[in-house]
Structures are given as C-alpha cells and as structure tokens.
C-alpha cells in the first residue's frame, strides 16, 4: 500500500503540488494582510541569484545548504530594497522594482556563464518541472521518496510549526503592528521571519513549479480566501483548501490537455479567484451590484416622498406631484420613476387620484408616507445641527 503510493508517479506529483500549495498559502495569508505581497514577487525572482551563488560556492544544488542560502538571499533582497528606499531618493515600489530585477539579471547571467557545468537551465529555474520530480529519489524508511518532495515536506512542517507557535504574534503583527510593538512583541522580527520562510519555501518549490509560478501559489489562494471571509482562522483554512483543490483540478486538466502541470495548477488558483471575485456572498461583484441596486431603490423611495411632502399643499402641487415631474424635475428615466412609484404604492406610502380635467393622476402622501417624510426631515435637521 505504502509502496504503491511512493512508486506511483501521479501520487508523487500531486503530493508535491499539494505541499507547494499548502506551504505557500500558510505564509501568503499573513503576507497579503501585511500588504507585502509584492515582496514575495521580489524574493521569488531574487532567489535565482541565491541558488546559483550557493551552487558556485558549494557545488550543491539541493539540500540544507540551499535552504540556508535562501534565507540569506531573501533577507538581503528585503534589506537592499529598504536601503534603497531609505535614501529617500525613490519610492518604495520603485525600490522593489530596481533591486530584484538587478539580482535576477545577475542570477540569469551567472547561469548563462556556467551553463556548461551546471545541469540547470534558466527555463527550469523559472518554470520547474513537477512532472519529473520522481526521477531524483532517496530512500526514507525503505521507500523511494523524491528529493524535492522530501524537502517540501520538511519546509511545510517548519511553516506549520511557525504559524501555530506564533499564531497570536502573527495575527497582531498583521493587523496592528503599532499595538504589537506597544505590547512588547516584535512585529518587525516576526515579519522578517515570515519573509525568511517565504524564501526557504521558494527555494524548496523552485524545482517543482519554478520561481515565478510560486508567486501564484503564495498570493492567489489567500487573496481568494480574503474575499470569502473576514476572520483569520477561516481565511487560512479556506486558502489551504483552495490550494489543494487547485492542485487536484490543475493536475487533472493538465493531463487532459497535455500541458505543463505546475502552470495548470497555478492557473486554477486564478480560476477560483475569479469565481470568488464574482460570486462571493460578502464582497462578490454580484452581491455588490445587488446591494447597490437595493440602496438605490431605498433612496429613490425616500426622495419620492420627500418631494411630495415638500410640494404638498403648495400652488404647484398639481404639476409637481405627478409622474411627469419626477422625470422632468428629478431627471429620472421613465422606468426608474415608474419603479419608485410602484414601490411606494405597494408600501402604502402614497396614493393616486385622477382629478377631473387632469390628463394624468396626481400623487398624494398617505398618513404613513407623511409620517415617514417628517421623521426623515427631523433626522436631517438634527444632523445639520
């Protein structure tokens, strides 16, 4: 059973994808709450320079040395960016946009220059090849486990431990860094630890999904979860579930269409994001549209009875308090005026009467309508004071 699992290529590919997705989503939730999503972009590009530098120094392309190198690279990237920003000669976003392309460019050139000795081409660093993770295995408890998968499992365990141990600190540092400082926590330190772990995860993931697709795994499922809930714990759980779902569906579709598996998994995170963007019961575009319509109707109804109340009993009451006036004086389209009238009639706020000799019915407030108009006007005048 266990052996069947470890020798099954699809099972290994899926496990690897799941580990990338879950490790990324765990950290991503806090990164996007903190407004540091684009630092992930910077780190995942800059990590290319770290990988090649560590290889040139030690000859290792995998393993603990690379993970340690990743921490250093990630922190250097962030520190350099802040250094450039702190000169106050450029803004923060420009500082990010200056530092990581330079590091990435240097990394690509070093790979170019060492291409003959290095079994690593630029495409592999950028895109990874999750379909081939099973080629390079090492025995664990008698089972052949892919090296990349093992590294990811270790990183996932570290991330999970970090997030559960420092849950409270992370929460506070993400939502209210000032309070965290006041209470004696070190939000800066927590933040740097988070970025260091992001770098480690990026290095562990690059062989599977590459440096750039990694961004989609870190940012998109948490951003999707953010649209679906306003609480942190559900957000993390939803993000993890969406990652898993993206991996499984992405794998199936990639098999079906015969395309890059890692990229298809990352693209699926985008599909779920789009769905949440449109359908989210809290913030989705449809909900927003409905809510905006509801507000508009409520306000129209109120405008109508205030208009009637203002002209009630005046000399112009006959011309003002008619449907034609709503269209010509308030500038409402015919349809909107009719809808507002129907609503107010249904709510029992107005009534219609056809006077002798008039070509259209005139509108009158009912008792309930007058009371509503008066209470609203009291509300406005209280507001003005």
């Amino acid at each position: 059973m266990l052996e069947a699992f470890f020798t099954s290529i699809p099972a290994m590919i899926l496990t690897t994808g799941l580990l990338v997705g879950l490790s990324g989503a765990l950290l991503g939730c806090f990164l996007i709450l903190r407004g540091a999503a684009m630092l992930t972009d910077a780190i995942s590009h800059a990590i290319v320079l770290g990988i090649i530098t560590v290889w040139m120094l030690t000859g290792h392309l995998h393993g603990p040395v690379q993970l340690a190198g990743a921490v250093v690279t990630g922190l250097i990237t962030v520190a350099l960016t802040q250094l450039v920003h702190r000169t106050r000669l450029v803004q923060m976003d420009a500082a990010i946009g200056l530092v990581f392309p330079a590091m990435f460019a240097l990394g690509v050139l070093l790979i170019n220059l060492n291409a003959r000795n290095l079994h690593l081409d630029v495409d592999a660093v950028l895109l990874g090849e999750i379909a081939f993770v099973w080629i390079d295995t090492m025995p664990v408890l008698g089972q052949p486990v892919p090296v990349a998968t093992l590294a990811l499992a270790v990183v996932f365990a570290i991330n999970l431990t970090f997030v559960s141990l420092f849950w409270k600190e992370l929460k506070l540092a993400s939502f209210d860094p000032a309070l965290a400082t006041a209470l004696g926590f070190a939000p800066g330190l927590i933040f740097y630890a988070l970025l260091a772990l992001t770098s480690v995860t990026a290095v562990a993931s690059f062989e599977a999904v590459g440096a750039i697709l990694f961004i989609a795994f870190v940012i998109t499922p948490p951003a999707t979860a953010f649209l679906l809930t306003r609480r942190l714990a559900p957000m993390v759980l939803i993000a993890a579930a969406l990652s898993a779902l993206s991996c499984v569906t992405g794998y199936a579709l990639a098999q079906h269409w015969d395309v890059n598996i890692g990229a298809m998994m990352a693209a699926m995170t985008g599909v779920f994001f789009t769905l949440a963007l449109v359908l989210s019961p809290q913030d989705g575009l449809i909900t927003r549209r409905l809510r905006a319509g509801q507000n508009q109707r409520r306000i129209d109804s109120l405008t109508l009875i205030l208009h009637l109340a203002a002209h009630e009993g005046s000399a112009h009451a006959a011309t003002e308090n008619s449907r034609a006036a709503l269209v010509s004086h308030l500038g409402w389209p015919e349809k909107r005026a009719r809808a507002a009238l129907r609503r107010a009639l249904d709510d029992g706020l107005i009534r219609r009467s056809l006077d002798a000799g008039a070509d259209q019915p005139s509108l009158h407030l009912t008792e309930a309508g007058r009371a509503r108009a008066q209470s609203q006007m009291r509300f406005f005048s209280a507001d003005a004071k």
Binding site: A37, Q91, A102, L213, A223, A263
Partner: protein, 374 residues
C-alpha cells in the same frame, strides 16, 4: 570592435535598442512619478499569454501578431488590477500579485501547449522570456519605429494634461480634466512600452528598463521635460551598451545585461547627482557642520572683544581651544581664508592671537542679530 559594429545584425540590434530606449524611457518616467512601478512588472509578466496566443494564431514568429497579443493581454491585466483594487477590499499589492502570478501561469500553460505542437517553435518563443536581441529582424525595426513614433506623439499631444494628472490629480479633477481618461491612457501606453521591449529584454526583466532609467533621470532633473529626456537618454544608452556587450560575449542573454547596465546608471545617479545624490548630501552635511563650527568660533572672539570693550581684542589661540576643542584650528584657518579673522601677536606673549577684521565683525553682528530674531 569596428568589425562588430559594421555587421548588419549588430546595426539592427543597436537601432532596435535605441528605439526601445526612446519609448520605455519616456513612459517609464510617468510610471515612476505615478507610483506605478510594480504595475509595470505585472503588465510585463502578463504579456506572456498574449505573446503565445499571437504566436499560435499567426502560426509562427510574426512580430506584429505577437505584439498585438502582448498589448491586449498586458492591457487586460492592467485593467484587471485596477478593477480588483476598486471593487474589493484587497490591497493593491495583492491585486498586482494575483494578476501577475495567474497570467504568467496561463502563459506557461499556453507555452507548453505550443511547444507540444511544434518543437521548432519553442526556440523563438522562449526568447521572449529573456529577450534575444540578435533575433531582431530588419522588418521588426519598422514596427518598433512605428510604436516609438505613436507613443511619443501621443505623449506630446497630451503633455500638459499628463503632467498635471501625474503631479496633482486632485487639482486636475477640479479644473475639469478627464483624470480617469488620462490615467487610463498613460497606463495603456506603459503596456505599449513593455510590449516594445519584449524582443530586447523579455517579459521578466522589462520592468527594470521601464523603472531604472526613470529613477536615474529623476536624480538629475528638476523639471518633467528634463526628466523625460534624460530618462530616454539613459534607456537608449542602457539598451545600446547592453546589446553591444551581449553581442560581444557569446551565450549572454541581452535582457539581463541591459538591466545591469541600467542599474549601474541608477546606482551612479543616486550617488553622484548634484544636489540630491548621496555623495552630494554627505558633502553638503560636512560643509554645514564646518560653517557652524566657524560661526561658533567667530562668535566667541566677538564676545571676548565686547567683554573687553576692544573691537580689535586679540583672542589667544589656547583659550579658544579650551572652548572649542579639536574643531578650533580648522575653524580658524577657514575664517582666515574667508577674510573674517587675521592672525596677530600680543607682546610680550609669543602664542598666536586672533582678531576680527571689519568684515568678520559685521558677520558676527549679523549672526547675533539673526539668533536674537529667531
């Protein structure tokens, strides 16, 4: 070198690099000023799916189709970022990250599909990830030239509006300019600049060619016009120098070299730009500190003169040292050089003494008055 320059391929590459520099330099200046540096990164990554689609539809490497596709998908990505930021509670950087990651993933999905279709096609395509200046064709230059002409003439036409919207959108709104329209136009033109650079530096590094020349120019320039022209100059120089280096050394992708040259210009500008650069700031700080010390020493001599009711009172150097320590000697020689003090002797003592010149007295009184007024 002469042989390299006369080769037709190199001439084409250099012309292409120069044209690209004109576009990205001019539009990068606006992107930088409007705080849209990272939008450029998202748009350039998001050009990938459009490139591959253009490739698939044209059935080969046709620059026109590829650039149209890139412009469409890049522009769409920019609009998506703006829509997500406006319509949800997500922070702008999360919107940028989502669109960047997902568009790039879609691009790779399409790319792997295209490579599955024809192995030969992939070589021409992967050049768009990092740029391959050597692959530039003569006919491509017409397209890039057209893009440059279009971008620069649009910019010239809306110059005043673009300037106002970039620096003070609220005021622009108040005087009735179509702010949203101008902003959208500038954003779309950034997508255009990115598209123009794909051939040369590739999707991943294009953001640097947009931002770096503008950031370098910003350090030297005092006006928008100067900044845009300088930025174009830096971008052209980066493109040309980078293309030359990469043509001279085999196996070096053009994009990264161009980006490193541009980064070099930024580093140089941030250090050396007059009035703003870090070296300049440090020199100015030292000059201020020296002037302050000199003024303090001058004040002490003036106070001694008044206490002794003798405007020409010779202050003893040792006494001044007691008050001003190690700074004394440098301040004394500075003040003497500026004609505010003169050295004198006071027999029978043999140590050096210092007295105010009329000019020094005037300066000391002015300083005293200034201190009182403040």
């Amino acid at each position: 070198m002469g042989a390299v320059l006369s080769s037709q391929i190199v001439q084409t590459v250099l012309l292409g690099a120069a044209l690209l520099g004109l576009i990205s330099g001019a539009l990068g200046a606006f992107a930088l000023l409007r705080g849209q540096s990272l939008l450029g990164d998202t748009v350039s990554h998001a050009a990938l799916p459009g490139i591959v689609l253009g490739f698939l539809i044209a059935g080969g490497r046709d620059l026109g189709a590829i650039l149209t596709g890139a412009a469409l998908s890049g522009g769409l990505a920019a609009l998506a970022v703006i829509a997500i930021t406006r319509q949800t509670r997500l922070k702008p950087d999360a919107a940028l990250g989502v669109v960047l990651g997902v568009s790039f993933a879609i691009g790779i999905v399409l790319l792997s599909h295209a490579q599955g279709q024809s192995g030969a096609a992939s070589a021409g395509l992967s050049a768009f990830l990092f740029g391959q200046a050597a692959a530039t064709l003569r006919s491509d230059l017409w397209i890039m030239g057209g893009l440059a002409l279009a971008a620069l003439s649009i910019l010239a036409l809306v110059w005043k509006e673009a300037k106002l919207v970039s620096f003070d959108p609220d005021f622009a709104q108040a005087i009735g300019l179509p702010v949203g329209g101008v902003q959208a136009l500038l954003t779309v033109m950034v997508a255009l600049a990115i598209v123009a650079g794909l051939q040369m530096v590739g999707v991943i590094l294009m953001v640097a060619l947009l931002i770096a020349p503008a950031a370098a120019a910003r350090q030297w320039a005092r006006s928008l016009g100067a900044m845009v022209f300088l930025s174009m100059g830096f971008a052209v120089a980066s493109g040309v120098i980078g293309a030359l280096i990469s043509a001279g050394a085999r196996g070096l992708a053009t994009g990264p070299v161009v980006v490193l040259v541009a980064t070099g210009f930024v580093a140089l500008s941030m250090l050396a730009a007059p009035g703003r650069g870090l070296v300049w700031q440090e020199l100015a700080r030292r000059r201020r500190a020296r002037n302050l010390r000199s003024d303090q020493v001058l004040g002490t001599i003036h106070a001694l003169a008044r206490a002794h009711d003798d405007p020409d009172y010779p202050a003893e150097q040792g006494m001044l040292r007691l008050e001003h320590r190690a700074a004394t000697d440098a301040a004394l020689s500075d003040l003497t050089a500026r004609g505010l003090l003169r050295e004198t002797t006071h027999a029978p003592e043999t140590t050096p003494h210092w007295q105010l010149t009329p000019k020094g007295r005037a300066r000391a009184e002015a300083l005293e008055k200034g201190a009182k007024d403040a």
